[in-house]
């Protein structure tokens, strides 16, 4: 129906959804700011005055999955990687990231069990 003039961003991993207003590297009214990847961007609903942008997510640079910017779904390290791809190429990431991810895995396991 006609109401779908606004496109919807849906994370293919966690299902998080939100309409986005811009896709690309240069959201409107950001002046000197440039994004280092093509992003799905919306107006930040949590900042009351003026137009602030909010990056919802982007495509995984390896598998092109649409992923949200949440740390459970993706990681940015010079490029965007979905967590599935991160796990696949785990050893190529610096140890700081590796330990971080390992810690995270553990705590989430603890929370589930």
């Amino acid at each position: 129906m006609a109401s779908h003039c606004r496109q919807l961003f849906i994370c293919q991993l966690c299902g998080l959804n939100s309409p986005y207003t811009y896709y690309g590297q240069k959201p409107p009214n950001t002046r000197a700011i440039v994004l280092l990847e093509e992003c799905f961007v919306t107006k930040d609903p949590f900042s009351p005055d003026k137009e602030r942008f909010l990056v919802l997510g982007s495509l995984c640079s390896l598998c092109s999955t649409r992923v949200c910017a949440g740390s459970d779904c993706s990681l940015f390290y010079t490029k965007r990687f979905c967590l599935q791809c991160v796990n696949k190429h785990f050893d190529q990431f610096p140890h700081q990231i590796q330990t971080e991810l390992a810690k995270k895995k553990q705590s989430s396991k603890a929370a589930v069990s």
Partner: protein, 1150 residues
């Protein structure tokens, strides 16, 4: 480049504002994403400090590497068979940020200029430090906002209704009507509209019973749909709308949707209508359901969704031919119910004060059973304000003693600030004890309540159609509302509900509360039904039909008000009233006021009567407030006091702006109500204008010069900024209550508490000192324009005052009360009054006449004995009032005093006279006896003439308003001024002595002579009796007897009457205007007076433009066809000429 540009090497100091300002020139310029001076800019530098500290710490601990930049590609990480990701070998947190900031252009420019001022300014190291901090700052804010979004989505998913999302959408798609039933906390109000919106439905209306819910839901939903400042989700309430053509989901009140149906019969503007909270069974909601039900047949594409708590669902489903029901479980924690019936010795009888002991015991029990560190507040439901203050008093003593409780009352007559306190937080170890009316059952939701105490009682307004009186009575609640109260304990965790009644009582409660439609006056409802052409109200299919007697009473009342004619059809004034979103009485006042030069005053009074009283009840016993208020009081009546108050407030606002808050506090006024009044006033004005009842304004705005306009524009911009700032701060953390919070009354702390409530924002400088209401007020209204308008209504002359009183009296009519004849011998507090239907009513203590009743008494020096128990005077007065409400006594409130004889003759629907008009009976209950027949005739005749003219002008005015589009002509000012002059003279200078009394049932038994026999009829020669006024026909009254002269005046029908045409009543009389001198009956004389005007006036009448007015005012209209039986001829004569003609025959016959 500059190799010694390292930190601290030059005169660079990160803490120096000058140094930071230089970096601001690079990163935070006027058009940058973050601008110098903005709140975010401030946040950045705070972040910067934290960031630097963090870096230093890390550098010291040696884990370093952040500063090093060796961006070599990590080639050696390549392994066989695996793809190389090309990641840098050295870890840098910078690589985790997907944002960059380009400032090369400015840096280069600065670099050039720096060559000659080398020693100062940031070096490349400082710039890159700052850039790095900025990148981290941006990343940090992105993460923060994204986190909020993720949390929001998670919360939505966790709502019980989320599981039903697809089923709801599917049901709505396949059925015209769907019922969604779910209890508190299931999320239906916020989620269902969003589900429908996102599944492709457009144009959704969602009604709410309360205005405040419209605003908060619209805010919440637009927030959840991440569209907070877009316009897809909006709300529309009485004064405010955020609706735009792009709005797809609109929250609005039930009443407003009904108004929209009036304009747009099939509701073509909506695809889906959601009616929320249908179980609350408000009058408007029940009616709306009925209207929508009949509308569905004409609108095949319309989808209707009813949302309800799980109460009586079948009723709604059945009403819409077994519509499918989707039931959603609520999200309540388990609640333990404890029945603790009040022992008989502690039960209070009706007249006694409530015994607080059972309530105290519960507080004590909680203190014993639950350790203070286990949080959880107490919510106590009582029936009314008096009960609340009794229990509050007792609990406060206990609280002061134990220091474990903060006692807070909650009811709608408290100031908003006081009401707001219940949302504040108690300090650790202390619980809130909120003592509330049933307002906290549905309208107000307080989180953190763990204990509920339910008295099982409620005070509800009921309407007594017989006495036309509202009654506030105490009832047992229903099981449904008992469950609702209980549920308040389980919103945030497991809770306890103490019921102060037995389980057997509970089982005996009615299952559901009585719907409003069965409890209230139906005047406005019936009027609206008439204007929507819904046919006979008695046969309309309501979900629960109201009692037929209520409908009948409403129809009668509307007829009395002139909104319906004798056939029950809408009159022109009635159809206008139906369009005004106000009470019939107020609508009438507005229409009447628009005719005279009193619009500004009438607007204010009408607005004042449409909002809660600005005078705070709690300040009534405060002597300081009373003294400060004194100058505002008017002994002419409460509407005048309100008028004075409003006018003075506007004056203060003009002079002192925000200082008005203090001014209000000193006088015990709730300023919020005054703000509401300004808004309403403006809305009323617009309404009158759009109905052509008021000229559009050309004055002030066009006259002001450019400079002023620009000034205003700048001011507005500033105000908008303030409003935004406020909105940002809004919803910030709640205040922590002081332990002694409940103790100080609202005023005991005096006027120097000003600003205390505002908290920390005060120090932000003078701009922040302005409160948000003041800002909104200034945005919405031009203060100087308002002042001008108000000036008009300030210092009313006694003439204008008299006229305004008359207008109010006509508006309030038939609500009139007569002072008891023995009031002068009674104490001030025991003054008694009588209305037509109710004897022995008293004046509400808030009314000015409660403190100053002498002004209602007939001055002794003006009285003359006119027989047993009859005091003759020209100074009798009546009270016209707005409401009659029975609580422990029947109280009159909002009264204005009016001169009895004049007011009655000018506004009453029924005036009956005897033959010489010395005895008049008004509306069948008030009897006036005039001493002199000569005077009586003169008074009556003047009144009839004035009334006819008033009616004519009013109809002309209304006629104007129905012809939309036509240029506003209005009633000519000259004619209007002449009428008001006449009315004022009549009101102020009629000095006729008369007695006034209420007729008893015994008197009214044989009041009228009744219809006459054929021969008598023949004798009166009825067909020959000329109408006194154009359009009116004098004919024998079939019930009362006598002659029905105008719609309200029946001549010679009172039982003691002498024969109308007996020659003895003929008296010689000379007309002051023409040369007529002959013996005339009273009726003939009045007839002549009505048509014979002084020579000068006659002239004026001829000059009146005749276009479009059917010649009703022209001289020709005064002539009529008269068939003379003697001449057997049709003659075109004026009334006087007819008289003369008849005399001719009379004398010749003798």
């Amino acid at each position: 480049m500059d190799s010694d540009g390292r930190r601290h090497s030059r005169s660079w100091d990160w803490d120096s504002p000058q140094c930071r300002a230089q970096l601001d020139e690079i990163f935070f310029r006027q058009h940058d994403y973050i601008q110098k001076g903005s709140p975010e800019h401030k946040e950045f530098w705070a972040f910067f400090d934290r960031f630097q500290r963090f870096k230093t710490k890390r550098d010291i601990s040696g884990s370093g590497g952040a500063g090093r930049k060796q961006d070599r590609e990590g080639k050696d990480s390549r392994r066989s068979g695996k793809m190389d990701l090309g990641l840098p070998k050295e870890y840098d947190a910078r690589y985790r940020i997907n944002v960059s900031v380009c400032t090369r252009d400015i840096e280069e420019r600065l670099g050039k200029s720096r060559s000659w001022q080398r020693s100062s300014g940031p070096g490349s190291q400082e710039i890159s430090d700052c850039r790095l901090a900025l990148l981290h700052f941006l990343d940090f804010s992105q993460k923060q906002s994204f986190g909020k979004l993720a949390k929001l989505r998670q919360e939505q998913k966790n709502l019980p209704i989320f599981q039903y999302r697809d089923r709801i959408v599917a049901l709505v798609q396949s059925h015209p009507v769907v019922v969604v039933a779910g209890d508190t906390g299931c999320g239906k109000s916020t989620q269902v509209p969003q589900y429908l919106l996102s599944s492709g439905f457009n144009h959704i209306a969602c009604t709410q019973p309360r205005r405040i819910a419209c605003i908060s839901l619209a805010k919440r939903v637009s927030f959840e749909s991440l569209n907070q400042y877009g316009s897809k989700v909006g709300y529309q309430i009485r004064f405010e709308t955020t609706r735009t053509p792009a709005t797809k989901l609109l929250f609005l009140t039930e009443g407003l949707l009904l108004r929209q149906i009036q304009q747009d019969r099939t509701l073509a503007q909506y695809q889906v209508v959601i009616v929320d909270e249908v179980h609350e069974r408000h009058l408007h909601c029940d009616f709306l359901l009925g209207v929508l039900r009949s509308l569905l047949a004409d609108r095949p594409g319309l989808h209707l969704v009813l949302m309800s708590a799980t109460i009586n669902i079948k009723l709604f489903s059945d009403y819409f031919s077994s519509a499918p029901v989707l039931q959603v479980p609520g999200r309540l924690f388990p609640i333990q119910v404890i029945y603790q019936p009040i022992p008989p010795e502690e039960q209070s009888s009706r007249s006694e004060k409530l015994d607080p002991r059972p309530y105290l015991r519960i507080l004590q029990g909680i203190d014993q059973r639950y350790p203070p560190e286990e949080r959880g507040d107490l919510l106590l439901f009582l029936s009314g304000v008096a009960e609340i203050s009794t229990v509050q008093e007792a609990c406060q003593i206990y609280a002061t003693h134990t220091r474990r409780w903060i006692v807070l009352p909650l009811h709608s007559t408290l100031s908003l600030a006081q009401q707001d306190k219940v949302f504040d937080i108690a300090p650790p170890g202390v619980r809130k004890c909120i003592i509330s009316t049933n307002i906290a059952e549905t309208s107000v939701t307080i989180d953190g309540v763990r204990f509920v105490v339910d008295s099982g009682k409620v005070k509800e307004m009921s309407f007594d159609p017989k006495a036309k009186m509202q009654r506030l009575q105490e009832f047992w609640i229903s099981r449904a509302s008992s469950e609702q109260r209980k549920g308040r304990a389980g919103r945030t965790g497991p809770g306890v509900c103490y019921r102060l009644y037995a389980e057997s009582d509970y089982n005996a409660f009615a299952p559901y509360s009585v719907p409003e439609i069965n409890r209230v006056a139906l005047d406005s409802l019936i009027l609206q039904m008439k204007s929507m052409c819904l046919g006979d109200p008695l046969s309309f299919v309501f979900i629960d039909p109201p009692p037929a007697a209520s409908i009948q009473t409403a129809v009668t009342y509307l007829k009395e008000q002139g909104a319906l004619d004798s056939h029950g059809e809408l009159t022109s004034i009635g159809s206008l009233l139906a369009q005004l979103p106000v009470d019939v009485v107020i609508g009438k006042m507005l229409v009447l006021g628009s005719l005279f030069n009193l619009v500004e005053s009438v607007l204010t009074v009408a607005a004042a009567h449409s909002v809660q009283s600005p005078f705070l009840r709690s300040s009534q016993h405060n002597p300081d407030c009373a003294t400060a208020r004194q100058p505002l009081h008017s002994n002419h009546g409460d509407p005048f006091t309100l008028l004075n108050t409003f006018n003075s407030w506007v004056e203060v606002k003009g002079e002192r702006g925000g200082g008005s808050r203090k001014w209000c506090r000193r006088r015990g006024l709730e300023e919020q109500r005054l703000y509401e009044m300004v808004n309403l006033r403006r809305q009323f004005k617009d309404l009158l204008r759009s109905h052509g009842l008021l000229e559009s304004e050309y004055s002030a705005s066009s006259g002001s010069d450019h400079g002023k306009r620009r000034e205003r524009l700048t001011e507005r911009r500033k105000l908008h900024q303030l409003k935004r700032d406020h909105e940002r701060q809004e919803g910030s953390r709640r205040k922590v209550l002081r332990l002694d919070e409940g103790q100080d009354g609202e005023f005991s702390s005096g006027s120097d508490t000003e600003g205390a409530g505002k908290g920390k924002n005060d120090k932000e400088g003078s701009g922040q000192d302005m409160d948000i209401q003041e800002v909104k007020f200034k945005l919405r209204h031009n203060v100087s324009e308002l002042q001008e308008a108000v000036n008009v209504s300030q210092d009313l002359s006694s003439r204008q005052q008299a006229l305004l009183k008359l207008l109010l009296c006509r508006g309030f009519y038939p609500q009139l009360a007569l002072p008891d004849e023995h009031n002068s011998t009674r104490k001030d507090s025991e003054q008694v009054f009588h209305t037509k239907n109710k004897q022995g009513v008293v004046i509400h203590p808030t009314s000015v006449f409660a403190t100053d009743p002498e002004v209602l008494q007939v001055p002794e020096d003006d009285t003359r004995e006119m027989g047993p128990d009859r005091k003759g005077s020209s100074k009798h007065q009546l009270l016209a009032f707005v409401t009659l409400l029975e609580t422990n006594k029947p109280y009159l409130s909002n009264c204005v005093r009016v001169p009895a004889l004049q007011a009655l003759l000018l506004v009453a629907n029924s005036v009956d006279s005897n033959a010489d008009c010395t005895r008049l009976v008004v509306d069948g209950w008030l009897e006036l006896e005039l001493r002199e027949p000569e005077e009586a005739l003169k008074v009556l005749s003047t009144a009839l003439t004035l009334r006819a003219e008033w009616e004519r002008l009013l109809q002309a005015q209304l006629g104007q308003s129905t012809q939309r589009g036509a240029a506003f002509q209005g009633v000519s000012r000259k004619v209007m001024e002449k009428l008001s002059e006449g009315l004022v003279r009549f009101l102020l200078y009629t000095e006729v002595s008369y007695s006034l009394r209420r007729l008893t049932a015994f008197h009214t038994q044989n009041l009228y002579i009744g219809p006459r026999s054929e021969s008598e009829l023949f004798h009166t020669k009825a067909p020959d009796l000329n109408p006194l006024f154009p359009g009116a026909e004098a004919k024998p009254d079939p019930i009362k007897g006598g002659l029905h002269v105008t719609s309200f005046f029946t001549y010679n029908c009172l039982a003691d009457s002498k024969d109308l045409y007996s020659e003895c009543l003929r008296m010689f009389w000379s007309c002051p205007n023409c040369d007529l001198y002959m013996p005339l009956t009273p009726l003939e004389r009045m007839q002549h007076e009505a048509s014979c005007r002084p020579a000068g006036e006659q002239q004026q009448l001829e000059e009146e433009p005749q276009g479009g007015r059917a010649g009703s005012s022209s001289v020709t209209s005064l002539t009529r066809v008269y068939h003379c039986d003697v001449c057997n001829e049709d003659l075109n004569l004026t009334s006087t000429e007819i008289l003369k003609h008849k005399k001719q025959h009379m004398y010749s016959a003798k």
